[in-house]
Each structure stands twice: as structure tokens, then as C-alpha cells.
């Protein structure tokens, strides 16, 4: 069979109005069905004719998945809420600005208008070996081409690798980890709520998917609890260009500060592992300090301990270290 790209193969499109209808469709069509949110991830696969679902279930018409509501003192964001809406929402900006900043760093305005928050965190990795349709572990095969001796892996992981060295590409994921967000996933049984950290799984657990969302499941909502509202936030994303690109490394942090002292911290780094890395040891290190320069340096060094580099991504160590330092330094 010869290969051709840039021509989406035909599929049957369903546009259900409710989550229940969508789940019923997914259950009926099993592994022939594909869930479509904003399409920014899906269409790339379809155009390359690598993923070819017979059935596409478009969530765009499901009202209950759209919108941001206040709930339990925090915010509940429907999975299909556009990134632009998240960026512009008054309460996201005032109380949870790290999420607004992170969402604003996604790609380009056009992509943010169409892309959804749920889609952004559930998106598949962008390792170009995998995205080219090569039969790697993540694709069900036997190899990680990116971890081969001379492979092109400047964008790949320096930690958390387990056979697969691809990274989590989501910009909002580290911010949601820093906010202790909770993701609601509906599938066969009753809805399950996952802590953000547990929502993203690594290749050690399941090498074929990035999150707990299994085929047949739907991510329905992201809840931001009140706990980190109005904390001191820091977000930075380093990328090749001023827009469009996924991160080389990014950091999202939230600090509870009282009288100049850090009473609690959440620090999460993107682009260095197959999932957003939560730096718990660093959080413990900085808690109780004022974020002075010596803590800043220690935090940076601690964050990259145990990193294992590939041929081309050694720079991610100083980059990650420096971003963590800047996050902690921002408190002082």
C-alpha cells in the first residue's frame, strides 16, 4: 500500500447534542470512533491518513461541555470551552491568572479560537517520529526511534521516559497541575474525578496514550478548586518562535505567600517529560523560605536531578533549571 498525505479520508460524522448521546455513540462504534473537539490535533492525523476512524463524533454541539461556571468556590470549565474564552474570562484572569497566561501561550489566536481546553490537555504528543506514522512503541510497535543513537531528539524528554521519550505538548497542563485542578472523565460507569497529576499518565503505565482518557471515555470538565485562587503565579514558556510553537520547556508555578514567606507551593514543568512534571521536592524545599537567591539556586539544581538526556536535548537541563529558578525568584 503506497503512502499519500494531505488528503483527509472519508468518515461518518456524528454531531450529538448531549454527553450521553456521545458516549452511546462511542460505545456503539468502539475502536472505529474518534472524538473531535477543536480538531487541531485530530485533523493533522487525518490529513496524514495515519489515523483513519470510520466514525467521528464531534462534540462541538454539546452545550453542557461548553462554558465556565463558578462552583464550590472555584471554577468549572467545560472541556469544550475554547482557549480564547478561557484566556478572556474575568475570573480566570483575576483569580487564576496562571491559567489565562498559559492558555494565551498556546499556538496562535486562530488556533486558540478553535481549540478547546479539554483538547489542549488531552492532545497527543508531537514527537515527529510518532507523528510521521512510524511504528514506534506509542503506535503499537517495538521501537523508540527518537531514542536511537543518532536520532533527532532536541524536543524530547529528559525525565520520566520509559521506552518512549516523547514529551507532553500541552501548555495549559502545567498550569492546571499548579492549580491542583481536577478532571472529570465519563466513560462506562459513573464519572470519575482525577487529580491533574494523575490525569496525565506516563509511558510506563500505558505507552499508547498520554492521559487516563481511554477510547470510549470523554473528558467533560476541568475544575479549578478555590485553594490557589489569587496565589502568586509564575508562567514562562520558551519556544523557538514567538508564536505557534510548542514549548521547548515551560514552567507554571503557584505560591501561597504570607508576610514574604512561602507557605505552600506548586511548581510544574512542561516539555521535559511525557507528562507535566510536578516538582514536589522543590515545592517542599522552598516552602517556609522567602525565595532568596540561595533557595532559588538550590531549587533549580534539585529540579533537574536525575535528568537523563538524549543526544540533542542536553540544553533542557539548564533551561529547566533556569525556569524553575525564575519561578521561585518571582516570589521575592
Amino acid at each position: 500500500m503506497a503512502i499519500i498525505r494531505d488528503m483527509i479520508p472519508a468518515f461518518e460524522l456524528f454531531q450529538p447534542n448531549t454527553v450521553d448521546d456521545a458516549l452511546a455513540l462511542l460505545d456503539e462504534h468502539r475502536d472505529e470512533a474518534w472524538v473531535l473537539a477543536g480538531g487541531l490535533d485530530s485533523y493533522d492525523w487525518f490529513k496524514d491518513r495515519i489515523k483513519r476512524p470510520a466514525v467521528v463524533v464531534d462534540l462541538g454541539g454539546i452545550e453542557e461541555l461548553h462554558g465556565i461556571t463558578e462552583e464550590q468556590g472555584g471554577l468549572t470549565i467545560g472541556a469544550m470551552t475554547s482557549l480564547t474564552e478561557v484566556v478572556n474570562h474575568a475570573r480566570v484572569q483575576s483569580d487564576y491568572s496562571v491559567l489565562a497566561t498559559a492558555a494565551e501561550h498556546v499556538a496562535t489566536p486562530q488556533i486558540r479560537n478553535q481549540g478547546t481546553l479539554g483538547g489542549n490537555i488531552a492532545q497527543d504528543t508531537r514527537c515527529w517520529y510518532y507523528r510521521s506514522g512510524w511504528p514506534c512503541y506509542r503506535a503499537g510497535g517495538n521501537t523508540c526511534y527518537a531514542a536511537a543513537p543518532k536520532a533527532m531528539n532536541r524536543e524530547h524528554a529528559i525525565m520520566g521516559a520509559s521506552r518512549c521519550v516523547a514529551v507532553s505538548p500541552s501548555d495549559t497542563a502545567p498550569a492546571l497541575v499548579a492549580l491542583d485542578a481536577k478532571m472529570t472523565v465519563r466513560g462506562g460507569g459513573s464519572p470519575k474525578v482525577h487529580d491533574a497529576e494523575d490525569f496525565f499518565i506516563g509511558p510506563a503505565i500505558d505507552i499508547t496514550r498520554m492521559t487516563v482518557v481511554k477510547p470510549g471515555d470523554l473528558l467533560t470538565a476541568i475544575h479549578i478548586p478555590a485553594a490557589w485562587a489569587n496565589a502568586q503565579f509564575y508562567y514562562e514558556k520558551v519556544r523557538d518562535r514567538g508564536s505557534w510553537d510548542f514549548q521547548l520547556v515551560s514552567v507554571a508555578a503557584a505560591f501561597q505567600v504570607s508576610g514574604g514567606t512561602i507557605t505552600d507551593a506548586r511548581i510544574s514543568v512542561g516539555g521535559v517529560a511525557p507528562y507535566p512534571v510536578r516538582l514536589e521536592r522543590v515545592e517542599r524545599l522552598v516552602t517556609g523560605t522567602t525565595g532568596g537567591e540561595s533557595v532559588v539556586n538550590e531549587a533549580g539544581e534539585l529540579s533537574v536531578q536525575g535528568a537523563r538526556v538524549l543526544r540533542h536535548n542536553d540544553y533542557k537541563i539548564p533551561m529547566m533549571r533556569n525556569l524553575v529558578r525564575r519561578a521561585v525568584r518571582s516570589v521575592a
Binding site: M1, P135, A139, N142, A148, S162, R163, A204
Partner: protein
């Protein structure tokens, strides 16, 4: 049901990736069917007469079947094998956890035990007691299975079915280990970095297929092995893998003293004086010697 998984390699050529996971399900179903079928079949099988044989002189009360070294080998090997099977298949059955490291570490343990066993069995054990086909014994065994009236053959140390099981495991085990060792080249360890290009993609496909076929075969082999080991009429053999010895009654009931020679005088070191174990075990099982021997 698919047998293989295929994919297009980076150059668009069709290559094997591995066996289909359908085979895992097939192995599980076949194993379940075989075990349940056997259980039912045995229940309805009439018991058979047991030929009394004269007791030759010089047979000790307890006959050593497995030395301490052999038993340590067996249990280490089987523990690693079980870990390998669980880490290989349980995630595919739905319970996901970080399995890869445990799997290859257990694989290293298994490989070490097998290497030990090969050396030990050649140099220190009675190699030919296991490594023979024994065609006529096999025919007699088969006839006995077909009809309880046909007498069960009296075996050497390792009866026909044990030997065939072991042969199957040798093939499948060496297959899975050899391919597993090759696969170690793809792991990132402190000693080396992954090098998937040591072999061509199509060659790796064959390696993974062999690994997969052997692996699913091992589901079947291991399941049946554990089943038979727990069968009441076989428990006396199972105990021997724990305690090291079989008692004289069982020995005489099932084995040919000419083939499994034990009259060199020395009692198995693990035997303590006194109590005739055979009767005790028989009582524990609640079955008559006749019924027990008939179940072979």
C-alpha cells in the same frame, strides 16, 4: 482473529511487529477450556486397578527427587516466570501499571536461573533422565489415557508427560529468553543506551513474533503446570519439589526401579527418621492408593 500485527516501517515497507493480542486471549481461553475439561474428564473417569509389584530390596523409605539446589532453581525460576507473565499480560487485560522494568529484571533473573540450570543439569544431574523422547513409553501413556484399563507405564525418574512438558518449555523458554536478551539492547540502562538499529526492522519483527508466540504459549504451559501441580493425585510430586523427596509407596506405584535406580543405599539427606510419610500423605488427601495411582 488476527495472528500478527503488521505495520509500515519508516520506508513504507510492510514488516511484522509482533503477535496479535488475540493470541493472548486464545491462549487464556484454550488453557481455561483444557483445565476445566480435564477436571471434568477426570471426575467421570473410572478408577483403575493398580498392579501390585513386589517390593525390591534396598529401596529407602524416602527417595530424593530434587536436591536443594534444584528446588531453589525451580522456585526462583518459576517466581520470575510468574512475574514475567503477569507483567507481560495483565496490563493488556486492563490493569495498567509500570511493568517494563520489573519485566526485564525478572527476565534477567530467569535467564540467570536457566543458564545455571543448563550447566547444573549437564554437569551435576542425570541429564538423560529428562532428555529423552521415550517413544514406546509415550504410546503406552497415550493408550492409558484413552482407556483406564490399559496400564499406566512405569516411568523412569521423569515420566513421559513430564518430559514432554519440559521439552516444550525448553523450546518455548529458550525462545522467549533468547529474544528477550536481544530486546535488552532497546532498554535504557546505566550500562548502555538503547540501540534499536542493531537489527533491521523486519528482523526485530521476527524477534518480537517469536517472543510473543513463546510468551502466549507459556500462558498455556504455566497454567496447565500449576493446575496439574495442584491436582490431588499429583500433590505427592508437588511436595517433592518443596521437600525434595517422594515416599517409597508412590515411587513403587509409579516408577520402574530399573529405570530410576535408587538403591545406592544413601537415604535422601532431607529425610528425617521414622514416620512413614506415604500413609500420612494418603490420609491427608483422603484418597485410596488405588484411586491415586489410577488417576495417572
Amino acid at each position: 482473529m488476527d495472528l500478527w500485527r503488521r505495520a509500515a516501517d519508516p520506508w513504507g515497507q510492510d514488516v511484522l511487529i509482533g503477535v496479535s493480542w488475540d493470541l493472548m486471549w486464545a491462549a487464556i481461553w484454550v488453557a481455561a477450556a483444557f483445565l476445566i475439561g480435564h477436571f471434568v474428564w477426570i471426575k467421570f473417569r473410572p478408577s483403575e486397578a493398580h498392579e501390585a509389584t513386589e517390593v525390591p530390596a534396598g529401596i529407602p523409605e524416602r527417595i530424593q527427587r530434587h536436591s536443594l539446589a534444584s528446588r531453589v532453581f525451580h522456585w526462583t525460576m518459576s517466581a520470575s516466570m510468574l512475574v514475567l507473565l503477569v507483567t507481560a499480560f495483565v496490563p493488556m487485560l486492563g490493569l495498567q501499571f509500570a511493568w517494563v522494568e520489573i519485566h526485564w529484571i525478572a527476565g534477567v533473573v530467569l535467564t540467570a536461573t536457566i543458564i545455571y540450570h543448563i550447566i547444573h543439569s549437564i554437569g551435576w544431574q542425570d541429564f538423560w533422565s529428562m532428555f529423552q523422547i521415550g517413544f514406546s513409553e509415550g504410546v503406552a501413556h497415550l493408550k492409558h489415557i484413552m482407556s483406564p484399563k490399559a496400564p499406566a507405564p512405569k516411568a523412569g525418574k521423569y515420566p513421559f508427560d513430564h518430559r514432554m512438558f519440559h521439552h516444550a518449555n525448553v523450546v518455548v523458554g529458550l525462545g522467549v529468553i533468547a529474544t528477550g536478551v536481544l530486546m535488552m539492547v532497546r532498554i535504557d540502562t546505566p550500562l548502555w543506551a538503547p540501540n534499536p538499529y542493531m537489527l533491521a526492522d523486519s528482523t526485530w519483527g521476527v524477534v518480537y513474533v517469536i517472543h510473543g508466540l513463546c510468551g502466549v504459549s507459556l500462558i498455556l504451559l504455566t497454567a496447565s503446570h500449576i493446575y496439574f501441580a495442584l491436582r490431588p493425585e499429583k500433590m505427592w510430586i508437588t511436595w517433592s519439589m518443596i521437600r525434595g523427596w517422594v515416599d517409597r509407596d508412590h515411587y513403587l506405584a509409579h516408577h520402574d526401579p530399573a529405570k530410576w535406580v535408587v538403591t545406592n543405599g544413601a537415604a535422601p539427606p532431607s529425610v528425617t527418621e521414622g514416620t512413614p510419610r506415604a500413609a500420612e500423605t494418603a490420609e491427608a488427601e483422603g484418597a485410596s492408593p488405588e484411586a491415586r495411582s489410577a488417576s495417572e
